[in-house]
Symmetry: C2
Amino acid sequence: MTPFRVALTGVAGALLLAASPLAAQAPALIPPQGLAAMASEAGRYPLFAQEVARARAEVDAAMKRPIDVPVPRDPGGGVTHEQHKRNYKIIRGAGLLFRITGERRYADHARDMLLAYARLYPGLGPHPARANQNAGRLFWQSLNDSVWLVEAIQGYDAIRGALTPAERKTIEDGVFRPMARFLSDGSPHVFNRIHNHATWANAGVGMTGYVLGDKDLVEKALLGLDKSGKAGFLRQLDLLFSPDGYYAEGPYYQRYALQPFVVFASAIQANDPGRKIFEYRDGIVLKAVTTAIQMTHGGYFFPINDAMPDKSLKTEELYYGVAVAYGATRDPGLLSIAQWQGRTVLTPDGLAVARDLAAGKAKPFPFASKLFRDGPEGDQGALAILRAGLDADDQVLVAKNTSQGMGHGHFDKLHWLLYDQGQPIVTDYGAARFLNIEAKDGGRYLPENDSWAQQTIAHNTLVVDETSHFDAKLKTAEKVAPTQLAFNGEGPTRWSVAEVAGAYKGVRMRRALAQVDVEGLAQPLVVDVMKASSDAAHRYDLPLHYAGHLIETGFDLQSNVTTRPVLGKANGYQHLWVDATGRPAVDEGTVTWLNHGRFYTYRMLPPKGAEVILAESGANDPRFNLRREPVVIQRVDGARDATFVSLLEPHGRYDAAAETTVGSKSGIAGLSHARAGAADIVTIRTKAGRTVVLAFADNTAAGVAHNAQVGGRTLEWTGPVGRFDQ
Amino acid sequence: MTPFRVALTGVAGALLLAASPLAAQAPALIPPQGLAAMASEAGRYPLFAQEVARARAEVDAAMKRPIDVPVPRDPGGGVTHEQHKRNYKIIRGAGLLFRITGERRYADHARDMLLAYARLYPGLGPHPARANQNAGRLFWQSLNDSVWLVEAIQGYDAIRGALTPAERKTIEDGVFRPMARFLSDGSPHVFNRIHNHATWANAGVGMTGYVLGDKDLVEKALLGLDKSGKAGFLRQLDLLFSPDGYYAEGPYYQRYALQPFVVFASAIQANDPGRKIFEYRDGIVLKAVTTAIQMTHGGYFFPINDAMPDKSLKTEELYYGVAVAYGATRDPGLLSIAQWQGRTVLTPDGLAVARDLAAGKAKPFPFASKLFRDGPEGDQGALAILRAGLDADDQVLVAKNTSQGMGHGHFDKLHWLLYDQGQPIVTDYGAARFLNIEAKDGGRYLPENDSWAQQTIAHNTLVVDETSHFDAKLKTAEKVAPTQLAFNGEGPTRWSVAEVAGAYKGVRMRRALAQVDVEGLAQPLVVDVMKASSDAAHRYDLPLHYAGHLIETGFDLQSNVTTRPVLGKANGYQHLWVDATGRPAVDEGTVTWLNHGRFYTYRMLPPKGAEVILAESGANDPRFNLRREPVVIQRVDGARDATFVSLLEPHGRYDAAAETTVGSKSGIAGLSHARAGAADIVTIRTKAGRTVVLAFADNTAAGVAHNAQVGGRTLEWTGPVGRFDQ
């Protein structure tokens, strides 16, 4: 059980160094001009110089310890697992540092590590801690072996020209060829899948093919084991992203999936420029990068599905993504992202980023309202993003009208989020997980991820009869996607209209969300029209999870101040404490909260007889696994059809420094709803005397003319949404 | 009821401008060189230029509206109240802008406003919205009238030289003389008090005396109405601050009180340099400023007593304080505070701050461990601050061993707080109040300020028999202060030892808090030895309010997952929901939480048989007035003497960007306590094999030699605390 420790320094010293000049065996993965520039300009641009220094610190520290290539033993997080992860970083880092600094000791160290692997690897069988058929050899799952290969082959590529033929043969025969064989022909069930794990395998095998000059490996990586194109990297580019570069699992996993795509694409471009890989499928690789960036607010990814809400663009995958995309496009907007990241990668693309940043070429990234269609054909719903402006502080509305997104998807069709002033205002819980924190189930997904985070009630969308969409069954959910009926991201009235049928048997749901600029109001209003129609009577619950301290409600509350009941028994309801309930009359249904010095009033116009529930997560949580966060729920019982009209209004300012408060009261005088001319007519009256009427037509086709009689007045408009200001 | 609106522009235009050169009537409050420098260098230094621009924007906007000097009508927050507040700012701003820019229109505007006041003021009686005997005339309380005078006299001083004798006479006879008379001779019950309200009155009257050349007013302001020195500004300097510059109400109110002290001192210095006001009582005015700054973490004041926790050095009072202190001392540490504030004031001192900041003279402010004695004689307890270092991220421990601090004081003798990484870790609730937010009781203190925030259980100190210190009675509490027995702010073991008798009948409490640097640990440990002794049996509760997400406990919990009981009936206990309870065995009593990527393990060694309660604030709070925050309570029943030894250990790191976690488990192997040789011996064993023994002697006198036999070993030390590392 003792790890296989090898102190190779003496042996290495005795090996003969290759006498041939470096250029004789130029690296395959880095073009020669890039290589020369990295060496000559490494210290010239702060961002790159700092990455070199960071890599030096890491590799130098590793070189002070004996080389440690242990016999595989532990599962994820264990000692041998972590050591092999550290090793591939050091092999890659040392190789690149050799090329950048010219210091031979780095090449020697990478070589000695790889020689140790060449001794270890041939003797390995399936990993002793394997959990399923996808066992690796160095790691408990082959995914990690693929990552090892992607990283280590880059390090080897950098030093290969400085090795003796004998060393090369030892390393290639001992590690790279057998590993590439194992991850391709030896693992067809992984390699030929359309899945993120396969992408890593394809990338590792294909890059190894380029470095070893093995065309067979490259073709298998690109086209699948039978080279038919039914599997392999290109097929993954066809199927894993939508035509708009959206990855079905959502931004958190899109980020995670990105790295093998961009790294392998970069290698293809260097070795096979005729393939025009960056133009493939209308530039899908680059779209995947820019779409990921668009799905952020203040640099943080929208935490839909199983996401950690603290995940930002400051992540290894996006350092690569931004550098590769910049290398391919020289889009100056990417430079401002790199600036915010404060990081780049040790590649010629990273150097270009650092060089052009230093030259002041950065421009703001063109954040904008966007509709990202989901599904390989773009017909599986969409993620709709409405932005009030380009500043980090501007309001962003996200309508989640996407497909289920596989096992990490949440049961939250037509869910929405709101950001303002860099803060989440209408929130998504994300995943119930403490990543890598051992005391919390080893850092894995917690039981509350199933019992709470994935359930519908944990989101801002309609719940029918206290059950989740599709009964929280993945297979059923995968079959049905919402339909994005209309979208407009420009002008003073921006909107998304979507619907879904099948989330509940016999219930059709349609939601219009509009972001409405109103003269005299500093921030846009958000109008939400959520409609359900059914032949049978149901209990309808419409939750809104918000962030902030509750300031006041417009209606009387029955408060549970000494005993808080739990809202329900299952489907997430068991996790909600009921603080208070009330039955607001018309124009009383408001809840106001304070977040970062700004007030938000949520104004509800639920169906008649509705109850409003103020609740908080945290019940039935004996291990304190949940964050405790507030929610407002509009509830109506025994209804067939139901329309919930709501208005979210940011207003006023509390200034802690100056101890002043302005506009703490809502500026809205009234909200009303009517049906007229096959449309939902929403009327907003402000206290300043302005009236804004929005008409949401049932027929959402573009260019269709509509009219409606409202209060003796005829409204006429064209297209899905009309607006009338008075 | 119509406000008294005066459009004086025409009248003003017709008035003859004083033909005499400005220098003929130099301002009294600003020395001539300072005046010349402000005029010639106003645009030269960014910080000052920006203040001039800010003042211009404000005054120019006001000048576009008709002058509005309404007949007083409304209480605080009302229309006429806010208008008179705006007016004094404009009078002062316009006056100074006239001096800085030389633009006559500013002098005219200030003059016209003052002429309007000269018409209004003589006809005013007690304010119609007065609430008690301290009614003002312009405002509902005379405090606001004093503030008006302090501000407006500065504006008048700046323009006086540019007015005709007739204008001067009108303004002085109409406003300044009668107002100064009203606030001094006319309000002896305010003017002669030793109280913050009196300071404002003294300052306004004294400054008016200097401007009008009225020695009588100046002497009354300095020495009280009878000029005996038993009241007045100098007496306030004797009594309101401790010898270390600590103000009994705590930092939040110290900040508030500061402005009239520094502004009037500055005027005294300009007119009466022979008084050496900045040297008075060993430099108490400047100490008050620097002590206020020392009582911050990351720029935010420690929120002890009735404080808003979001209050920082970015506040008008501290812009003045820093500028005046810099003018008097040229201490370059103050420049870095001004830099953090990003603001200064329109005075020659403010100009000097901006000039020297621009010249790069700023040095880090010398934050350090400090003992600030409380009480005029320094014998009413103390605030002890222990700092691990100078960086904003370094750990800060605050031991609140101060006196009650009047009506805004909390019943929390020997309470403590901890900050780390710029975050509160062991917290103080502060005040239950939403300042100026109308929906929350008009922004006043909420009922929960009495029922929760001031109660002992809301703090991190011992509660006996579920009642608060001094039964939460202010008069009783004012009579007893803790005794600071020992303090050491230097070296690797820093400590505070204090005791109090009388918070509970027959119970004596002593607490030692130590901040302990240990080799191999990145952050200091905090050791807490809280002892109670009594002749009768009691229930002892020791709460620790913490900020962060609970990760794990070292002991089994009985969790209240479907019904959370309320902890008690009164004295703050009615506001706590009980999440879970447990009875940890020795070395099991740990609670670990996560805050900003760092773990904190609180390790408890309570008396035998103790129960641990995990609770959260928010019960019996029908209006959502409370923040919901967690607390751990150690409880022992039926004990006479009780010793609670606790250890707080920061450890590890969770990195969301890199998705890595290290050191999530405590590095402590054991904590034990023994009595030996008239001392409490606390032994800490780390998992790395190190042992640290701390000996807290009963006799805390300096220089006394102690010894104790522990585990067959003799420990010998001198002074209150000994330390032995193995």
